[in-house]
């Protein structure tokens, strides 16, 4: 009898296990990534999930889950609906920041709340250093671009990865996984127009494309003619030694000639476009003798430096792809007053300490203690209703959203956008958000440690939030491009220690505040209405250190908000002058599909190209170009990155004069200022290989002797020595350079 029961139990258990097993067998999950899984930590990536149904129809969701079996329905999941007839397959896409994807994730197919298939998401680890994608027939083109970390100045390796044309994405943001795209003259399959447009847009966004073409390899050269026109049908050959002399004067070039695409052009021609660059190589890089020349590595390093590609690659800003400062600021929805913790403690404490003991005492006196069973919960209910009735209108009156965006204008047609928004519904437990077509976004929730992707998407424009607890704000972050928003017309130059000129607002927005940012200094312009033109005349300080914010007194909510706004504005990098406008005009990149009060806070910025003075020289003012710490002897310390303490010993700074596209004519360092007087100051003269003393209390001015002083990296070394027993501080030696723009 007992055995038969056990047998029945075993049969039932096997049947129970068998059911999901059969469902699991019904569905196949295949995960694929664009460009053979090339991903970079500081970018977003697209995860393609192909679902195939074998024997039964599937109607449910494809979910990105932290748990292999999502029994807990409250866990955070990013879902997309899927409906599939048997025998069919479909591909869904999840676009997420790579830093999120590197956690443990499972792709699951769920139906009626049950997980019918679960597959661990396995991604290739993001590459360190820079990645060059090579598109060329055969696998060996551009192999000489690969560099070990030890061979580079920044100690970052450069790896080369072959990419077939059909692997190239059709959206520009997906190319962000690459640093450089090198395209040879021969492709297995042609690059289609959509891919080409994505590549051109990526160049504007900051990408570097190297395009090589030998004689009659017209394929792509003419398709890039809108950026860099190279006339076809003018093939020829040039002497290698002559053509390379400007890059390799100390290395013997291979003898003979090399055939070129256009004999009227040099071997290397670069053309900036937006924030990026197209570098045309006027010969077929797979052609000998240059293809396997032993000095290819230094040649290409020099080419990349002299043509400006290295500057672009080094100046790329590391951006938090989650846009956390944006998310933090967007939580502070204007007019939504979170009750202060003090009031919550008073109400709760009042109830616990006053109502219950009071009711007990009163009821005991009148001999009706049993009434406490009704009165205490009754008062609790009344208190809840009271708090809800009176408190809710004080917290928020209506549905609301707060969108924080940064728009970086590249030209009048294209701008890069980053955005984050917080949505708050007061009367519904779910709503939809429509995302602009050119924006990629992900719905988020605030997890225990960080933001977690959570919500329902359709894989493109729709973000849906469902089953929300009462008055729970939800968030989303996104990035992408904006088209045809116009640009600022900025015409400024530096004269002595002033930045002068005019700016005209040709964008779609009016700005409550605008600034010109030079290094760490912000020169206020005031409000700038749409179409308005303003004159600029502001002093540029020879030294400017930000005030130490940590030393400030206690935070107020308004001050905290300002700090958050400052984190969103940030600072430009790489020696760029920026024009910054702050506007609260509506820029609805992610729009809540419910009647609601929407608030915006937008930073619109544009890199400003400084114009030349009357003598044709462009002046890069103090504080714009970086000063790096190169070498120290003795004890030293940094107070805030701008002040250095030095005991007995020396400290050598590298003035990054290489970060500009100027043919340098003059350099000034204000060493006459009192702060530098206690030190012995020398600069290194590369030509003689000796340190030259700078007289105490005098400015360092290098003009004719400048080129002799610059190192092979086109930088200037400045050494400060302290021979005394006391530890002394010195500010970073900011400098000013003048020169003629090379491109």
């Amino acid at each position: 009898m007992r055995r038969s029961w056990m047998l029945a139990f075993v049969v039932a258990w096997v049947c129970f296990l068998g059911q999901p097993a059969s469902a699991e067998n019904n569905v196949d999950i295949e995960i694929n990534m664009p460009m053979s899984g090339l991903i970079k930590y500081e970018s977003w990536a697209r995860v393609g999930v192909t679902i195939s149904s074998q024997e039964k129809d599937v109607a449910g969701f494809v979910e990105l889950s932290r748990n292999p079996l999502a029994k807990n329905q409250r866990q955070t999941n990013l879902r997309q609906p899927v409906k599939l007839e048997k025998g069919k397959s479909t591909t869904l896409f999840f676009d997420l920041p790579v830093q999120l994807l590197l956690d443990d994730w499972y792709i699951q197919v769920t139906q009626n709340g049950q997980v019918i298939k679960s597959e661990k998401l396995r991604l290739p680890y993001p590459k360190d250093g820079q990645t060059i994608g090579v598109v060329n027939e055969g696998g060996n083109a551009f192999h000489f671009l690969a560099v070990n970390a030890s061979q580079t100045k920044q100690n970052r390796s450069i790896s080369v990865q072959t990419v077939s044309p059909d692997m190239l994405p059709d959206q520009s943001w997906m190319l962000e996984s690459l640093d450089v795209l090198a395209i040879g003259g021969k492709q297995e399959t042609p690059i289609n127009d959509t891919q080409l447009n994505a590549i051109k847009e990526w160049i504007k966004l900051g990408g570097v494309v190297i395009l090589s073409a030998g004689p009659e390899q017209d394929g792509l050269v003419q398709r890039f003619a809108d950026i860099l026109p190279i006339p076809p049908g003018n093939k020829g050959s040039v002497n290698i030694a002559d053509a390379l002399r400007v890059y390799m004067d100390d290395k013997p070039a291979p003898p003979g000639n090399i055939p070129v695409y256009n004999k009227d052009f040099p071997l290397f021609v670069a053309k900036p476009s937006g924030k990026g660059l197209l570098l045309f190589v006027n010969y077929d890089v797979t052609l000998e003798p240059l293809a396997s020349w032993q000095h290819n590595l230094p040649l290409w390093q020099n080419v990349m430096v002299q043509q400006g590609a290295t500057t672009i690659l080094e100046n790329k800003r590391y951006l938090d792809q989650m846009s956390r400062p944006f998310l933090e600021l967007s939580k502070k929805i204007p007019d939504v007053q979170t009750p202060t913790p003090v009031w919550m403690v008073v109400l709760w404490g009042g109830y616990v300490l006053l109502v219950a003991p009071l009711a007990y005492i009163v009821l005991k006196r009148i001999g009706r203690r049993e009434w406490a069973w009704g009165i205490i919960p009754g008062v609790a209910v009344l208190l809840t209703i009271g708090i809800f009735a009176f408190g809710k209108p004080l917290v928020v009156k209506t549905n609301a959203s707060y969108t924080v965006s940064e728009i970086n204008i590249l030209d009048e047609h294209l701008a890069r956008a980053r955005t984050a928004a917080t949505f708050l519904s007061v009367d519904k437990d779910g709503y939809d958000v429509i995302v602009e077509p050119s924006i990629v976004a992900v719905p988020l929730t605030q997890g225990r440690r960080d933001y977690e992707p959570e919500g329902l998407t359709d894989g493109s424009r729709l973000l849906s939030y469902r089953n929300l607890p009462y008055l729970t704000p939800k968030q989303a972050t996104g990035f992408g491009v904006l088209r045809e928003i116009g640009a600022f017309d900025v015409n400024v130059h530096v004269e002595e220690n002033r930045i002068v000129g005019q700016v005209k607002n040709n964008t779609l927005y009016s700005y409550e505040q605008a600034y010109i940012e030079v290094g760490l200094q912000r020169i206020p312009i005031g409000a700038l209405k749409k179409g308005e033109e303003k004159q600029i005349d502001g002093a540029v300080e020879a030294l400017f250190m930000p005030r130490d914010q940590l030393q400030e007194e206690a935070d107020s909510p308004e001050k905290r908000r300002k700090e958050m706004q400052e984190n969103v504005i940030g600072y430009g990098q790489g020696g760029q002058v920026r024009l910054i406008g702050i506007t609260t005009d509506p820029i609805p990149l992610m729009k809540m599909q419910e009647p609601h009060q929407s608030y915006y806070w937008n930073v619109v910025n544009q890199t400003v190209q400084l114009k030349p003075q009357e003598n044709g020289n462009v002046v890069m003012p103090y504080g714009l170009l970086n000063v790096d710490l190169l070498e120290t002897t003795g004890d030293y310390d940094s107070i805030n990155g701008y002040l250095w303490q030095l005991g007995k010993g020396s400290i050598t700074f590298e003035l990054r004069t290489d970060m500009t596209n100027l043919d340098l004519k003059r350099l000034l360092v204000p060493l006459d200022h009192s702060s530098y007087r206690p030190f012995r100051v020398e600069y290194f003269q590369q030509k003689s290989g000796k340190w030259r003393l700078v007289d105490r209390g005098t400015k360092l001015v290098l003009d004719r002797e400048l080129q002799d002083a610059l190192t092979v990296n086109h930088t200037l070394l400045l050494r400060f020595s302290n021979d005394g027993p006391s530890r002394l501080s010195l500010p970073v030696p900011f400098f000013q350079v003048e020169g003629v723009r090379k491109w």
């Binding site: 005030r547 204000p670 007087r677 027993p725 501080s729």
Partner: protein
């Protein structure tokens, strides 16, 4: 017992028995009357006792409560009177009490600028042995610090503690050259250092004063007997002349700057440049955003309260003051502590004391 058993039949004295019976009958008649009376009397007595008891109990129960009430009321009133009296006596009075006499004494050649108190009133900094900066803790949590300033052939003549308390400005005078150094005091993680903010020949710098956020320093620049107030930025290389005069002192909110000119104390509003003369005196120090004190030539401490368009001057009394001649007072702890610098004649020395109000 039955009647027949009590009185056996056959007794001979019939008359006696009859009399006895008569007497008994009379007695029986009279007994109910006595019992009634007794009951009535008892009842009346009990009622009377209750009344008396009630009368006794009532005043006994009320009296202690009333007493306590009177005691508490009286006590409260007394405490209130005492508090008001104390307030009027201590806080209401515009006097300052010296509670730490002779915290520090400096040699006769020392100047009143060689000592300063930090803004949170936790320590005092002063110059010793020409090139050593020392701090004395006021509270128990702070440790004393000795910091070696850059070696000098001259001497350090002035110190000024920054508002955030992490830096001290010191003035060095070497023959014809004057320097202002900014000293980063040593911390647990840093050994401290000095930064030369300003060096100039043929002038004498003195009386440095930090601005609200410590991002600039005002000081006196004296050249050929002419005093000027200059400001140098501590976060940039900017410097500019502010006014004619000396002894600049920034108000805590940075709205005003007090200065000494032609023997008088004046206040300049930074936004408008408007200067208001407060009166004869020297060494002004801000107690709050609108109140400052200064010292008259006779050593009297004066307090000036600035209104929107006018000001009020009054004398500030120093309690427990010694015979030393009061010269300068520096406020700290948001106007609660005062560093007093006096000049003693016997022996000749500079005496530093602490006072509070």
């Amino acid at each position: 017992m039955r009647e027949e058993e009590k009185y056996p039949q056959g007794h001979t004295d019939d008359q006696t028995v009859a009399q006895l019976l008569t007497h008994l009958k009379r007695m029986r008649r009279s007994v109910p009357v006595n019992y009634q009376l007794k009951a009535d009397l008892k009842k009346q007595l009990l009622e009377r006792m209750k009344e008396l008891e009630a009368k006794k109990v009532q005043p006994q129960a009320e009296r202690p409560w009333m007493k306590r009430k009177w005691v508490w009321s009286g006590g409260t009133v007394l405490a209130a009177v005492l508090l008001i009296g104390a307030y009027l006596l201590w806080w209401g009075d515009s006097s300052v009490t010296i509670n730490k006499q002779e915290v520090l004494t400096l040699p006769a050649e020392a100047t009143v600028e060689q000592v300063d108190i930090d803004k949170s009133a936790t320590q005092i900094a002063y110059i010793v042995q020409s090139s050593e900066l020392r701090t004395i803790p006021i509270d128990s949590e702070t440790k004393p610090v000795t910091f070696k300033l850059p070696p000098t052939k001259g001497k350090y003549v002035a110190v000024a503690w920054s508002n955030l308390g992490k830096q001290i400005a010191v003035v060095e005078q070497v023959e014809q050259t004057s320097r202002i150094w900014l000293v980063d005091l040593p911390t647990t993680y840093n050994v401290g250092s000095s930064r030369l903010l300003k060096e100039e020949e043929g002038v004498a710098f003195s009386s440095p004063s930090w601005s609200q956020h410590d991002d600039s320093l005002a000081y006196t620049r004296s050249k050929n007997g002419m005093d000027e107030i200059w400001v140098s930025s501590t976060i940039s290389f900017q410097e500019w002349k502010l006014a004619e005069g000396s002894q600049p002192e920034w108000s805590p909110d940075g709205r005003f700057l007090s200065l000494h000119k032609d023997g008088e104390i004046a206040v300049m509003e930074m936004r408008t440049g408007l200067i208001t003369i407060l009166g004869q005196g020297q060494w002004a120090s801000w107690r709050s955003e609108h109140e400052l004190t200064y010292t008259k030539a006779d050593g009297q401490l004066m307090e000036a309260e600035l209104g929107d368009e006018s000001f009020v001057n009054r004398e500030l009394h120093l309690r427990n003051q010694s015979a030393a001649e009061f010269v300068r007072g520096n406020w700290a702890a948001k106007g609660k502590q005062l560093l007093l610098i006096s000049r003693e004649s016997q022996p000749v020395e500079l005496v530093v004391s602490l006072a509070s109000r």
